[in-house]
């Protein structure tokens, strides 16, 4: 290589280094522009890379001062949801790095115990060839989200506190009911008290689940399932409770695979059936049918029940799926009981599965048909044989 070649090569090297430096600088500018605090840690939980927001959150604003410290050196976590174990493992170098992404709502505390606002902690594996790393981010939740978290904590605490005394009252009522020769008036009041107690316990369970569904999407765990066996199983389990229940049109959905959590779907159908039994005309059929596809990526189930009443206004219908909506006075002037939490819970369960729930009404020859339309996400087929082999049919 002569002097001229060498000089040209050296110039190209300098140009390349300048370009690489500019690229690195741009990446760091982007990393620092994020409002989320982000760090990248190794298996020992040592921080290799930290952005500006993480430095602001943990060490007074200089990112390089976070480098080489462990997560446990700079923070403590107080998880506020069901992912406590997974979140706390992030700080423990004795545990392997998580291989899947996850998130948890938590309070972040400095090693001195000062706590930050509620943060959404997220982690995501960064699988490099040499060794695994983990990207950990912290997002300050908005005031609305914080209020929701506080509401969830309140509801969780409340339902927990109420469960024990209610179980005691319920147990005592049961013991009294076993006594022989109770006067008929006492027995009748006792039966009423036990029914109301069962109702309170059911409401409490629904309220607790509804609150969790609103703030924690992981309560529902969707997977691929063949729809028809799920519906048949639910029908078999439910027709004793509602002899007028009918299942229709399943042949159109044969081998259709949907993305759902079977427990959530069945619980949602239970709520619809409860409501239908309570509010519809029991001498008329209650029908669950497969109504085809929406032409996009959802299939449609229709849950129909009949009543002798006239249809309600569309805005009233929409309110039915809000919690604790009270019904309007009936013909006898008595206020009709509303749908309670059932429709609200069913709607949240469907949302949790990636679907929707809508209410419709249409006049029928003898009154009104109320149709609850459920949209379930359909799995994109890659060959029916492969689909059938891949899906799970066990709802547990």
């Amino acid at each position: 290589m002569n002097t001229s070649d060498s000089s040209s090569s050296s110039s190209r090297d300098r140009e390349l280094i300048a370009q690489l430096r500019q690229s690195l600088g741009m990446l760091q500018v982007a990393f620092d522009a994020a409002s989320e605090a982000m760090v990248i840690v190794d298996v020992d939980r040592r921080i290799h890379w930290a952005n500006q927001a993480s430095a602001d959150l943990f060490v007074g604003g200089v990112p390089i001062q976070l480098v080489n410290q462990t997560l446990a050196d700079v923070l403590k976590l107080r998880p506020m949801d069901a992912h406590t174990k997974a979140a706390l493992q992030l700080l423990d170098p004795q545990r392997p790095l998580p291989r899947t992404s996850g998130e948890s709502r938590c309070q972040v505390l400095s090693p001195h115990g000062d706590e930050s606002q509620v943060q959404l902690l997220r982690w995501r594996p960064v699988e490099l060839i040499q060794s695994p790393f983990l990207l950990v981010s912290f997002r300050d939740l908005s005031p609305e989200e914080r209020a929701l978290v506080q509401q969830q904590r309140f509801m969780t605490d409340l339902t927990h506190e109420l469960r024990t005394p209610l179980a005691i009252v319920s147990g005592n009522l049961q013991r009294i009911a076993r006594l022989r020769a109770l006067p008929e008036a006492v027995s009748s009041r006792l039966t009423m008290a036990r029914e109301e107690m069962a109702r309170i316990q059911k409401l409490l369970g629904h309220l607790s689940l509804l609150t969790r569904l609103e703030v924690d999407p992981d309560v529902v765990s969707s997977g691929d399932h063949i729809l028809v066996p799920l519906l048949q199983r639910w029908y078999e389990a439910s027709r004793e409770l509602a002899p007028s229940l009918q299942l229709k049109g399943l042949e159109r959905g044969d081998e259709l695979v949907v993305q759902t959590d079977p427990r959530a779907l069945m619980l949602a159908l239970d709520q619809l059936l409860d409501n239908a039994c309570q509010h519809a005309n029991r001498s008329m059929p209650i029908q669950l049918s497969f109504a085809g596809s929406d032409g996009l990526d959802h299939c449609i189930l229709e849950f129909a029940s009949q009543s002798l009443d006239a249809p309600v206004a569309s805005e009233d219908l929409e309110r039915w799926s809000a919690p604790f909506v009270r019904g309007k006075p009936g013909q006898d002037g008595e206020r009709v009981e509303g749908p309670g939490l059932g429709l609200a819970l069913a709607r949240e369960l469907m949302r949790g599965c990636g679907g929707t729930l809508e209410l419709h009404q249409k006049p029928s020859s003898e009154g009104t048909t109320t149709i609850v339309r459920l949209r379930l996400k359909v799995r994109t087929s890659n060959g029916s044989g492969a689909v059938a082999a891949a899906v799970r049919t066990d709802p547990a």
Binding site: R21, Q22, L24, G25, M26, L27, Q28, V29, F31, D32, R46, H48, W49, A50, Q52, A55, G61, V62, P63, I64, Q65, V67, N68
Partner: protein
Amino acid sequence: MSTPGAWTEDRIRALREKEDLPFVRADASGILQEINDRFKAVYGWSEAALIVQSLGLILPPSFRDSHHAGFARFQLTEVSKVLNHPLKLATFCSDGHAIESEHFIVAEKHSDGSWSFAATLRPLMESS
């Protein structure tokens, strides 16, 4: 973000002479141009080993990614959080161990638009 304050040759001199502290100076590309005797005595480096080498050499290897990225970002934005205040950082010695030191880093923009950087280091304790 803090912006670098005015930095003059007098200020370099003052830094260098202040309490006989270890001192380093680098050019716009982060290439070391000068180290003083005190720096050589405390951290064990020779001029032959460091001059015209990257400033990253006097940082422990685990800090170099962050240093290079921060340096590259400064060249694009001319904004830094490390300038003009004491900063506790590990300093890498020639024998491979690190000494926790208080760095005071300053920067000067020249009339041609290029930058120079200088720092005094106050050794605090050996960190590894």
